[in-house]
């Protein structure tokens, strides 16, 4: 396939073979983000258009349908793309104004919306990039944007800082306890560890190690068998640990690094000081194994009760995500506040939250009994107060479920049959619930403790 006549370069689009969930062959359109040459064989990093980034991967040339190759159209595309900087899933490379040979490693310039010219290296093999660290530095400083991200929150929606480095996964595989995880996104683990076939993490302190031997050695010294925080909830095998991002920086940072592998919008730009981390664990004879976590700003100006939330892939789709969400709202209930997750939500986040909100709200609506024969009624504010779900989320959920209708001059809630049935079925599957009685949590007033 690597016909010398055609050079497949970054920015090219072409159908790439991939298996779908039914293990059938598909040829979705993909974009070449990077090319690398290992042992004389070329590998292409592809992003499937309209698929989530997490499915991006290195593919061999034989998976490329080179006949349908589309070269990046610089003239046509640049102006249109100019208005949408870093818009996704388009790659910045499409914005590149190419002047010389396409495989040149000369820095090229990308026009960003803010009018500044940002120089990026045209996609190179990742290894190559690593080696020219000084160049990288100067490149960064030359770009002259002193823009630092806002200091609140944990997520970025502004992708102007997105470059080819962060758009590509850099860790191949992570071994964590019993599990091997395939990272979905870039995570700023030490650069020298990114070339490893497997990155080893200590299951309990989440320290990153380059080899199994190192992990073995580490385990002789690490006596943690649970997250290094206070256990504030335990029911059955499920426990929650609270970790202060300021007091336990090492663990918090390790957790964030791990979480970044699975959270596209998470930013690790700033330190972990203003966050609390609630780590959900499952206990067995080896200890308290991390299942997922959510972080939370000690003080949120925007009613966020969750910053980042993640169920580790091995535990996904088993109800743990909902448990995490439920726990976050339990904390809000104790605090006497309503809360909402920090935006933007990921696709999985949206689904999980919608699902949780739906179930929670429907649960309330179904429970409502009509007293003295009148039709039961409830206000949105009441729902919000009961559930600690922010009003806007209640409304959006009611809308999404199509429950809210206008009838005879007033809004009504209609519980259709399939809604009720669907809800009952879903609730039957939902075994894992948070028991508020098992929560031992006293909210702290962080504003009185000085900033963070």
């Amino acid at each position: 396939m690597t016909d010398s006549s055609v050079e497949i370069v970054e920015g090219c689009r072409l159908p790439v073979l991939r298996k779908n969930q039914e293990n059938e062959d598909e040829w979705p359109l993909a974009e070449i983000l990077s090319v690398k040459d290992t042992l004389g064989r070329k590998l292409y990093y592809v992003h499937y258009v309209d698929f989530n980034k997490r499915l991006d991967e290195w593919v061999t040339p034989d998976r490329l349908d080179i006949k349908k190759l589309q070269f990046p159209k610089k003239e046509a595309k640049t102006p249109t793309k100019n208005g949408l900087p870093g818009s996704r899933p388009s790659s910045p490379d499409r914005d590149v104004v190419r002047e010389a040979t396409l495989d040149s490693f000369y820095p090229t310039y990308v026009h960003c919306t803010n009018g500044t010219t940002r120089r990026i290296l045209p996609s190179q093999p990742g290894r190559k990039r690593k080696n020219c660290g000084t160049d990288e530095d100067s490149q960064d400083s030359s770009d002259g944007i002193p823009s630092a991200p806002r200091m609140t929150g944990s997520l970025v929606s502004d992708r102007s800082h997105d470059d080819i480095v962060t758009r590509m996964k850099n860790i191949d595989c992570i071994e964590l306890g019993r599990h091997r995880l395939k990272p979905w996104y870039f995570s700023p683990y030490p650069q020298e560890l990114t070339s490893l076939p497997v990155l080893y993490l200590c299951e309990f302190c989440l320290k990153y190690l380059k080899s199994l031997k190192c992990l073995q050695r580490h385990l002789t010294k690490c006596n943690l068998r649970h997250p290094p925080g206070n256990e504030i909830y335990r029911k059955g095998t499920i426990s929650f640990f609270e970790i202060d991002g300021r007091k336990n920086k090492t663990y918090s940072q390790n957790l964030c690094l791990l979480a970044k592998c699975f959270l596209d919008h998470k930013t690790l730009y700033y330190d972990t000081d203003p966050f609390l981390f609630y780590v959900m664990t499952e206990y067995d004879s080896k200890g308290f194994h991390i299942v997922g976590y959510f972080s939370k700003e000690k003080e949120s100006t925007e009613d966020y009760n969750v910053a980042c939330i993640l169920t580790l892939p091995p535990y996904q789709r088993r109800g743990y995500g909902k448990l995490l969400i439920e726990f976050s709202y339990e904390l809000s209930k104790v605090e006497g506040k309503t809360g909402t997750p920090e935006k933007p939500l990921s696709d999985l986040g949206l689904l999980s939250y919608r699902s949780y909100w739906s179930q929670t709200i429907l649960e309330i609506l179904m429970e409502l009994k009509s007293d003295n024969g009148e039709r039961p009624q409830i206000t949105i504010n009441e729902i919000s107060e009961i559930t600690s779900v922010k009003k806007e989320d209640v409304i959006s959920t009611l809308q999404y479920l199509n429950l809210i209708n206008y009838y005879k001059g007033q809004y009504i809630l209609t519980l259709s049959e399939d809604i009720v049935e669907g809800h009952e079925r879903a609730m039957q599957k939902r075994h894992l619930r948070i028991d508020p009685k098992c929560l031992h949590f006293t909210p702290k007033d962080w504003s009185k403790r000085g900033k963070w």
Binding site: Q21, N52, H161, L181, K286, I378, N381, K408, L413, G422
Partner: protein, 758 residues
């Protein structure tokens, strides 16, 4: 559809929404159409992502089926299967505690090395283990330290040696290995770490830099605009405070020295009174050679105000050296108040009884001059140490207009050691006066010249200052032969060929004295003298050696209490001194005791002032003290004790004159050479007090002195009643001696504390 004509009201979150179920849902058509009137809430996702294929598919599936179908879930990269070696990796079981886990803050890390050995290291370890034992942990600690010590540059082998403290071979092997490995390492460190931000902002866009510190602005409160400014102010304030502390520290030292000076002055007066030196002859004689000694950088300039007052108040005393200060002892006391602040009284009721009400305290002005100069300005709170020191004062007057003055910018070399033996500098004020006047005999025209003193002239000549005393004639009649035993050895020294001096350097040799009989008066005299010499010899010599810098002397004087500077060498010296004195009277013993006591005293003092220099001194003092203690006692047991004992008992009453050992020793021979005790008596305890100061010092004696003075008076009047001390707490000689010092010590402690607080 027609219902669309009127607008649906905005959704009111506070308004109750009736709930319709299943069958009783009214008119769905209406509802659906109107639903649009409710503004669509954003999903909270990014627009592009929201359109992603799998999400849309999943959402649709959910909308349609009300539950997720297996095929409709959003695909994620699949994780691989189980890790079969997990159980081997994570060894041991962990039992869930019954109670919720609560971690102790800061109890997490047991300081384990961050470095983890890899298989490459293991190979090295195995190789090394053939020759020596090297545990993995030990290796890791080594590498860990090396790594953490090399920030930008690798540590050198030398540094590594300091760092690791391991066997040389082992260290070398590990070090070499580490250097090699480090050079091949692709990361910045063998311990992988997340890239840190650089402060210059060059890493602002580096994707691998994480966990940047939030800018400081965020850490201060928003509502305080001046935070940065106030922070700077705080810093400045802190700096200034610390400077103040330094200044106060210096003032403290100065005041201590002043106190000492006063004390010494008092002693001088006291002794002179004992001596009957009303004409000031003795004093002037004594003070002449001291002019050479330049201990202090600057001549002493008394602050005018203070001095004026003093002078005005006590005119009679001002002229003490020249005139007849008969009344000194009596009148002195009231003038103490000049320098004594109120504090004193409250602290030391004992002394208070002796003193009339105090005068108001002088304002405490601190300026540069104060620090540099020796003045009486803010004297006050300090107690008096018996240890005298302030020789510089003596320089003031003897030379009058020709006083040696230190010039700024000039560096003055320390006196040579040989010279110093004749002109003891510094701390050992007592020495100085010991040395000053002595019963002297010339070796060449073998005769006793009476009380005289040797000093080294500026050109290196030896001068002999004779003091005229009433007893001169009697002394002259003394058989010089009586001095023979020690004249001889002293003659052996070139320095002393012409005269036999109390300062003879060979006095180390105790032999002649040991054999001395002590029956006759002359012998007794000799003895005394010998003892005096002995004592002096050793002390002055070594002290002088130690005491190169006069400044230092001033500062440390109070601490040392005029005692020896205690270092290993001086310890030896002291030891020598003790041995010498072993053949002599108990006075030497007493001296030793005194030394010991002073050392301990100084120790106490020092321990309260926290500066490192003094702490060090204190430490050495402890050592030497114990040393000396044992030493000082042993000689007493072998043989000397009879002498000393008898003498002590004999003169205990008089000797109780506040530890003036010379006084004690001299008392036994009151009948014949009255002048003898006086000759050196005052000198023994009062050191560097210039005539100039004597007068005004006498005008304002200080705290411990009233009892001392009284004692001295009584002693000199040969009143042997044991009950001399007004402060009745003093019951034994030993105690007598220490008492004033202890008081002084207390005073220091208090003062010190006070100063520290400020």
């Amino acid at each position: 559809m027609s219902k669309l004509s009127f607008r649906a009201r905005a959704l009111d979150a506070a308004k109750p929404l009736p709930i319709y179920r299943n069958g009783d849902i009214p008119d769905l058509n209406d509802c659906v159409s109107i639903n649009r009137a409710v503004p669509q809430m954003p999903t909270g996702m990014e627009k592009e992502e929201e359109l992603e294929h799998h999400l849309q598919r999943a959402i649709c599936a959910q909308q349609v089926f009300r539950e997720k179908k297996e095929s409709m879930v959003i695909p994620v990269p699949e994780a691989e299967g189980n890790i079969n070696y997990y159980d081997r990796l994570y060894k041991g079981d962990f039992r869930q505690p019954k109670q919720l886990i609560h971690i102790q803050p800061f109890g997490l890390d047991s300081e384990q090395p961050d470095y983890d050995m890899d298989s490459e290291d293991e190979t090295l370890l195995n190789r090394l283990n053939r020759k020596m034992e090297l545990k993995p942990l030990q290796f890791e600690i080594m590498v860990d330290r090396l790594e953490k010590a090399s920030a930008n540059q690798l540590v050198t082998l030398q540094e590594a040696k300091l760092l690791l403290n391991e066997d040389d071979y082992l260290l070398k092997s590990v070090y070499d290995y580490w250097v090699r490995k480090r050079k091949n390492c692709r990361g910045p460190s063998l311990i992988p770490q997340v890239k840190q931000e650089k402060r210059d902002g060059s890493t602002n866009n580096d994707a691998y830099v994480a966990f940047r510190r939030r800018t400081e602005k965020m850490q201060t409160r928003k509502n305080r605009k001046n935070d940065e400014a106030s922070y700077e102010k705080m810093l400045k304030l802190r700096r200034e405070f610390s400077r103040t502390v330094t200044i106060l520290e210096m003032i403290k030292k100065r005041e201590k020295s002043k106190r000492e000076l006063l004390h010494l002055t008092l002693e001088v007066v006291e002794k002179r009174y004992q001596l009957g030196d009303f004409s000031g002859d003795v004093l002037s004689e004594v003070s002449v050679p001291l002019a050479e000694k330049t201990v202090y950088p600057a001549p002493i300039c008394l602050p005018n105000g203070n001095r004026h007052k003093t002078e005005n108040k006590i005119k009679s005393h001002k002229s003490v050296p020249k005139h007849h200060p008969h009344n000194v002892t009596v009148k002195v006391e009231p003038h103490f108040d000049f320098v004594r602040p109120h504090k004193k009284y409250t602290r030391r009721p004992k002394l208070e009884t002796l003193r009339p009400p105090s005068r108001p305290e002088r304002p405490h002005t601190v300026n540069n001059a104060d620090i540099k100069q020796y003045d009486f300005h803010s004297s006050g709170e300090e107690d008096y140490l018996l240890s005298p020191s302030s020789e510089p004062d003596e320089e003031n007057d003897p030379d009058g207009a020709f006083v040696f003055r230190r010039r700024v910018g000039c560096s003055y070399l320390a006196p040579l050691s040989e010279q110093s033996s004749s002109s003891p500098v510094g701390l050992a004020g007592t020495n100085a006066m010991w040395q000053r006047n002595a019963l002297t005999a010339l070796s060449v025209p073998r005769r006793c010249v009476g009380v005289a003193r040797r000093r080294l002239g500026r050109g290196g000549r030896l001068l002999l200052d004779r003091s005229s005393a009433d007893l001169d004639r009697a002394l002259r009649h003394l058989d010089p032969g009586a001095f023979c035993p020690f004249v001889a050895p002293s003659d052996a020294f070139p320095l002393n060929t012409d005269t036999h001096m109390d300062t003879c350097t060979n006095a180390h040799d105790p032999a002649p004295f040991r054999t001395h009989p002590q029956r006759s008066l002359a012998q007794l005299l000799t003895d005394i003298q010998a003892c005096r010499w002995r004592y002096f010899q050793t002390r002055s010599l070594h002290q002088n050696q130690k005491e190169e810098s006069g400044k230092k002397a001033l500062q440390e004087d109070d601490r040392r209490g005029g005692g020896p500077i205690v270092t290993s060498s001086s310890r030896n010296a002291v030891l020598g001194g003790v041995q010498c004195s072993s053949s002599m009277t108990g006075c030497s013993l007493i001296v030793e005791n005194k030394l010991v006591f002073r050392n301990t005293a100084s120790l106490d003092t020092v321990s309260k002032t926290l500066d490192s220099a003094s702490a060090q001194f204190a430490a050495s003092a402890v050592v030497s003290t114990s040393n000396k203690e044992s030493k000082s006692h042993s000689p007493a047991v072998n043989g000397i004790l009879p002498n000393s004992g008898s003498r002590q008992t004999k003169f205990s009453s008089s000797g109780s004159s506040s530890a003036r050992l010379s006084g004690a020793s001299s008392k036994p021979l009151p009948a014949v050479p009255q002048s003898l005790p006086h000759g050196h008596g005052p000198l023994s305890s009062v050191s560097a007090v210039s005539p100039a100061h004597t007068h005004h010092n006498s005008a304002r004696p200080c705290a411990p002195s009233p009892p001392a003075l009284k004692l001295a008076t009584i002693a000199s009047s040969l009143d042997r009643v044991p009950k001399v001390t007004p402060a009745s707490a003093i019951d034994s000689i030993g105690r007598d001696k220490h008492e004033p010092e202890r008081l002084a010590l207390n005073g220091i402690a208090e003062t010190t504390v006070a100063m520290e607080v400020t």
